[in-house]
C-alpha cells in the first residue's frame, strides 16, 4: 500500500479501540447499494521506478524546441537556487499560514513579496497572489466595479490589444455579475490605444479603463495620457503589466498625474518555468485607499506579546471564510509556492539584475527584428518601439510557416490569425535574454529558407 504505514497488527489494535470488526464496517453509514467494489477504469498502481520510467519517456517525447514564443509565457533564465530552496519541504508541504506562530517562514516571505511588488510597481500595497494573469485581471475588474466611488457603472473599457485570453477569461468570470467589457480598437498603424479611440466614449460612465503595458503586440502605450483620460472621466485605471518590463518602463504607480489605481499581471516571468502554462501566479497591487476592496490574502507586520516583530494574515474580514457570500472574492488557495519562487528570484537578481534582464530581452528582440525583417516576405506590422515582442507580417499563412519551423526544432512564435483575423498572416515573436546570437541567426536562416 503505497504511502500507508499500517501493519496488520496495528490495524487490528486500532479496530479494537474503535470497537469495529473490520475497516469495511467503518463505512456502514453509506447506503450499501451505492457502494462500488472497485475502480475498473483506473490502471494498477506503479511503483516509483515504473512511474519514473513512464514520466521520463513522456517528458522526452515532446522535445525541447528553441523558443521564440511569448504571448503570455516567457522563457527566462531561472537561477538554480530558486527552486532548490522553494521545494524545501518546509515551504513545499506547508499549508496556508493559518497558525501564524508556526508559519513565520511563509508569512515573512509573503510580506517580503508584497514589499517587492510594491517596489516594482510603485503602488502602495500588494496582495499575496491570485491564480494567474487572466484571473488577476478579472478580479481587478470586479474590484474596480466595487471600489469606484465616482461611478456606479458596470462597464469597463478594454482595448483589444490586451491579451485576448485575458479578455475572454475575464468575460467568462465577470459577466455573471452583469459587468460589460467594452472593446476599444487599437490603432492599425501603431497597435496602440489612442486618445482618439477613447474620446468616442467621452461623457459615458465607466467603472474603469484597462491598459496593458506592453500590449499583447509588444508595443508600448502612451500610459500617461491614457491614465489621465481615465481619471478625468471618473474611471479607475487598471494597469496590466509584464513585471520583467517594470525595471525598464515607467511603473504603473507613476502613470499620469495620479498613477494607476490597480496594477495586475502574471508573475510567471519572475522565476516560474513556462511549464505548459502553470502554475504561475497573478499579482495585484493597488492604492492604499482600495485595500479593503482587494481580493485574496494579505500579510501584515505586527508584534507579539513581547513586542517582537511578527507576521500574520490580515484584513481577513474581506475573505470568504469570514465574510462568506459577501466576500470580495471566493478565492481561498492561491499560488503560494510560485510566490515563494518569485520572491527568491527577485532577491537573487536584485534591481540591477532585473534591469539587465529587461534590457537583454529588449536588445535581443531588436536584434531578432533586424534579422527577420531583413528577409524578403517579412515586415514589421506596427510602427514604434516594443518591449520584447513584436508582430511580423509574413507573405505566407503563418500556420504553415510555424509547422515548417517546428520541423527544425524552432518554436517560431504565436499565430495571431485566430484572435485577430483582421491582421493578415501576422506572427507574434519574442526573444528573451535566453536567446543567443546563434539561435537568432539560425531562426533567420531557417525562416529565409521557408519563405
Amino acid at each position: 500500500m503505497p504511502f500507508i504505514p499500517h501493519t496488520e497488527d496495528e490495524i487490528c489494535d486500532m479496530l479494537s479501540v474503535i470497537g469495529a470488526d473490520s475497516i469495511e464496517q467503518l463505512f456502514d453509514e453509506i447506503p450499501q447499494h451505492l457502494r462500488i467494489k472497485s475502480l475498473q477504469g483506473v490502471p494498477q498502481g506503479l511503483n516509483e521506478m515504473e512511474v519514473s520510467r513512464l514520466m521520463q519517456s513522456r517528458a522526452a517525447e515532446d522535445g525541447q524546441p528553441v523558443c521564440f514564443m511569448g504571448a503570455g509565457s516567457y522563457d527566462h533564465h531561472i537561477p538554480a537556487a530558486v527552486w532548490q530552496i522553494t521545494t524545501r519541504g518546509e515551504y513545499y508541504t506547508a499549508y496556508t499560514p493559518y497558525q501564524a506562530e508556526a508559519s513565520q517562514g511563509t508569512l515573512q516571505l509573503i510580506y517580503e513579496f508584497q514589499s517587492m511588488m510594491t517596489a516594482l510597481t510603485a503602488m502602495d500595497v500588494s496582495n499575496a497572489s491570485l491564480y494567474d494573469g487572466a484571473s488577476a485581471l478579472s478580479e481587478a475588474v470586479l474590484m474596480a466595479v466595487r471600489g469606484n466611488r465616482k461611478s456606479k457603472s458596470r462597464r469597463i473599457l478594454v482595448p483589444t490589444n490586451v491579451n485576448p485570453v485575458y479578455r475572454s477569461a475575464t468575460k467568462s468570470i465577470v459577466h455573471h455579475q452583469n459587468i460589460e467589457l467594452v472593446d476599444v480598437e487599437f490603432d492599425t498603424a501603431t497597435g496602440q490605444t489612442t486618445l482618439d479611440a477613447l474620446k468616442a466614449y467621452e461623457g459615458e460612465d465607466f467603472a474603469a479603463v484597462v491598459i496593458s503595458q506592453p500590449t499583447f503586440f509588444g508595443t508600448l502605450e502612451q500610459v500617461d495620457a491614457l491614465t489621465d483620460w481615465a481619471h478625468a472621466n471618473g474611471a479607475m485605471l487598471i494597469a496590466v503589466v509584464n513585471p520583467t518590463s517594470l525595471s525598464l518602463l515607467k511603473p504603473p504607480g507613476e502613470w499620469g498625474e495620479q498613477g494607476a489605481d490597480i496594477a495586475c499581471g502574471d508573475g510567471q516571468p519572475l522565476g516560474a518555468p513556462m511549464s505548459s502554462g502553470g502554475p504561475y501566479y497573478g499579482f495585484m497591487c493597488c492604492k492604499k485607499a482600495h485595500v479593503r476592496q482587494m481580493p485574496g490574502r494579505i500579510v501584515g507586520r505586527t508584534v507579539d506579546q513581547d513586542e517582537k516583530e511578527g507576521f500574520v494574515l490580515t484584513l481577513q474580514a474581506r475573505e470568504q471564510h469570514i465574510r462568506r457570500s459577501k466576500a470580495t472574492s471566493n478565492i481561498c488557495t492561491n499560488q503560494g509556492l510560485v510566490v515563494t519562487a518569485s520572491t527568491i528570484y527577485m532577491s537573487l537578481l536584485g534591481p540591477q539584475g532585473l534591469e539587465k534582464v529587461a534590457i537583454a530581452c529588449h536588445q535581443n528582440t531588436n536584434q531578432l527584428i533586424e534579422k527577420l525583417s531583413a528577409i524578403k516576405g517579412v515586415d514589421v506590422l506596427f510602427k514604434g518601439s516594443v518591449f520584447h515582442e513584436v508582430v511580423l507580417k509574413l507573405n505566407k499563412p503563418v500556420a504553415d510557416v510555424l509547422n515548417a519551423l517546428a520541423e527544425k526544432n524552432i518554436l517560431g512564435g504565436y499565430d495571431l490569425s485566430n484572435d485577430y483575423p483582421q491582421l493578415d498572416n501576422a506572427l507574434l515573436v519574442c526573444a528573451t535574454e535566453m536567446r543567443t546570437d546563434e539561435e537568432i541567426d539560425r531562426y533567420a536562416q531557417v525562416l529565409s529558407e521557408i519563405l
Binding site: P5, I23, L26, F27, Y131, S276, G300, E319, P351
Partner: protein, 483 residues
C-alpha cells in the same frame, strides 16, 4: 530580519545578470522608469541563507504531523515533485503545437479519464486553478444549463450552513443569492428545511459529503431527489474526496457537477498557500458547458478542444490550461496508487480518524457527534473546557504547537462552538496519532492545573501570540512604503 534589511546599496549579484550591450535608446523617456526599484541588493549566499533559515520557521508535512481538518495534509511524494519537474515538462511552452505536446497531453487526457472514473462523472476539465475556481466553474455551468433552457428565474443557490466559505462566495460571484440550510444535531442536512426551501427559484444545491462536520450524509438520495424534482442541480464540493475514494462516487449519489481539490485528495503539495487545482467534472447533461481547454483523443493522437468544438462552453478561466505542474503531480500520484491504492486511501483515512476519535472520547474529550462514524475527519469540541477552565480551542491549538503538533482547524465549521476539526489522513502512522492524543491529554492536565500557562502558549515558536488587531488597524503591508 527582513531581506531588505540585509541590503547594501550597490551590491550586485553578477552571476545572475545577463550581458547587455550599451544603452537602450529607442524607448521614449516618458515611458521609461527613472528611479530603480527599491528591491533588495544581496549576494547569492545572503539570499540562500535568508530563505533557508526562514523556511525553518515553518511547520510542514515534511516536518510535523499536521492534522488540519478539511485540508487533507497527507504525504506529498517526492517523486511527484521531481518527475513533474523534468526539463521536458518545465520548458514546454503552453502554446506549443499539439504535434510537439503529445507526451504532456497524454498525461492530461488520462488524468481526465481517471477523474471521471473515480467520481462517476462523464466529463472533466482540468483548468480550474483551485477549489474555489472549480466551484465557480461548476456554478457557472449550472447557470449556463438553466439559461440554455431559457429558465432564467432560478436565482438562488442553496448551501448548508456547515459549508465552506467558498461555497456561498462562489454563488455570489455567479450572480446568485444564497440561502443557507440548517444542519441537524446529528450532522445531517435538515431535510425538512431543505424541502421547504427548494422551489422554482432554486438553481442548485452545493453540498459536501461527507460534510465538513466529518459525517456522511445518509439521506443523500432523498436530498438529490428533492433538488432534482424542483428542477435544481446538485453540486458536490469535492474537497473531501479522501473519505470516499473508491468506496462511493458522487456521480452515483446523484450529483451533477463536482470539483475535486487535487491538492488535497491527490496529494499535490499545498506550498504554503497553493497552487492547487480544482478540476471540475460533470454528468452528461452538463458536458457541453465545461470550461476550456480540455484534451480529447482522436485516431492520430491528442488534441485540444476549442470553442469550435464546444460552442456552449462557459469559456476560459485562465490564460492557458490551469496549473499544469499541479496536474502532473496529481497524475503521477494517481498512477502510483492505482485502483487498489485509491481504495486504501479512504479506508485508512477513515481508520485513522475513527481511531483518534475513539481514543480522545475514551480519554474524556467531547466529540461533536459522538454517535456517528467519523469519516476521514471528526470534531472535538472544547466547550466544556472553555466554560469551566477558560481554556479555549485557540489555547489548545497554540499549546499543541509547543508540543510539536500543528493545530487542527479551529472554529470551523462555524456551527460547533470551540471546535477542533481533526483530519489525520491515511499517510500518518499510529505513532503520530498516539503522540497527538498524548499531547491533548497533557494540555488538558495543564489546563486543569494552570490555565494561564496554556493561555500564554506558544512558548517555543519564533514568536509568541501575535497582535492581530494591531495588524489590521495599523496596516503595515509593505516594507518599501513603510520605511
Amino acid at each position: 530580519m527582513l531581506i531588505f534589511e540585509h541590503t547594501t546599496q550597490g551590491r550586485k549579484n553578477i552571476a545572475q545578470a545577463p550581458v547587455v550591450n550599451g544603452e537602450v535608446n529607442d524607448i521614449p523617456a516618458e515611458l521609461r522608469r527613472t528611479k530603480s526599484a527599491p528591491l533588495p541588493e544581496l549576494s547569492e549566499l545572503q539570499v540562500v541563507r535568508h530563505y533557508t533559515r526562514l523556511s525553518q520557521k515553518n511547520f510542514s508535512i515534511d516536518t510535523h504531523f499536521y492534522p488540519l481538518g478539511s485540508c487533507t495534509m497527507k504525504y506529498n511524494p517526492r517523486a511527484c515533485n521531481s518527475l513533474a519537474m523534468l526539463p521536458g515538462f518545465l520548458s514546454r511552452h503552453p502554446l506549443a503545437p499539439e504535434k510537439f505536446s503529445q507526451g504532456f497531453m497524454a498525461c492530461m487526457y488520462e488524468l481526465q479519464e481517471m477523474l471521471c472514473e473515480v467520481t462517476g462523472m462523464s466529463g472533466f476539465s482540468l483548468t480550474p486553478m483551485a477549489g474555489a475556481q472549480g466551484e465557480f466553474a461548476g456554478v457557472a455551468m449550472i447557470r449556463a444549463y438553466h439559461d440554455a433552457k431559457k429558465d432564467f428565474d432560478r436565482k438562488e443557490i442553496l448551501v448548508p450552513n456547515a459549508a465552506h466559505g467558498t461555497n456561498p462566495a462562489t454563488a455570489t460571484m455567479c450572480g446568485y443569492t444564497v440561502k443557507e440550510i440548517p444542519t441537524l444535531d446529528n450532522g445531517d442536512v435538515d431535510l425538512d428545511a431543505l424541502k421547504q426551501a427548494v422551489g422554482p427559484q432554486t438553481a442548485g444545491l452545493m453540498l459536501t459529503n461527507p460534510s465538513t462536520l466529518g459525517v456522511f450524509e445518509r439521506r443523500i438520495e432523498e436530498i438529490a431527489k428533492t433538488v432534482h424534482q424542483a428542477g435544481g442541480l446538485l453540486y458536490y464540493d469535492g474537497a473531501n474526496l479522501n473519505a470516499i475514494l473508491g468506496k462511493i462516487r458522487p456521480g452515483d449519489m446523484g450529483f451533477d457537477v463536482i470539483h475535486s481539490n487535487l491538492h488535497k485528495t491527490f496529494s499535490t503539495p499545498h506550498g504554503g498557500g497553493g497552487p492547487g487545482s480544482g478540476a471540475i467534472g460533470v454528468s452528461e447533461r452538463l458536458k457541453p458547458f465545461l470550461p476550456l481547454p480540455m484534451v480529447t483523443k482522436e485516431n492520430e493522437g491528442y488534441r485540444w478542444l476549442t470553442e469550435k468544438d464546444c460552442p456552449q462552453t462557459i469559456g476560459r478561466l485562465s490564460a492557458f490550461m490551469g496549473n499544469a505542474g499541479v496536474l502532473l503531480r496529481a497524475y503521477i500520484y494517481m498512477r502510483m496508487l492505482g485502483k487498489d491504492g485509491m481504495q486504501r486511501v479512504a479506508e485508512f483515512a477513515t481508520l485513522n480518524a475513527n481511531y483518534m476519535m475513539a481514543q480522545l472520547k475514551n480519554k474524556g474529550f467531547d466529540v461533536a457527534i459522538p454517535e456517528r462514524r467519523a469519516s476521514h475527519e471528526f470534531i472535538v469540541t472544547l466547550k466544556k473546557q472553555a466554560k469551566e477552565l477558560n481554556v479555549t480551542a485557540m489555547d489548545f491549538a497554540k499549546r499543541l504547537l509547543d508540543l510539536g503538533y500543528h493545530a487542527p482547524t479551529t472554529y470551523f465549521p462555524l456551527l460547533i462552538p470551540e471546535c477542533l476539526l481533526i483530519e489525520p489522513t491515511e499517510t500518518e502512522a499510529r505513532e503520530s496519532l498516539d503522540g497527538f492524543i498524548e499531547a491533548m491529554l497533557q494540555i488538558q492536565s495543564e489546563a486543569e492545573n494552570d490555565a494561564e500557562f496554556v493561555k500564554g502558549a506558544p512558548y517555543t515558536m519564533p514568536v509568541k501570540r501575535l497582535d492581530e488587531v494591531r495588524a489590521a488597524k495599523q496596516l503595515d503591508l509593505s516594507w518599501v512604503n513603510q520605511s
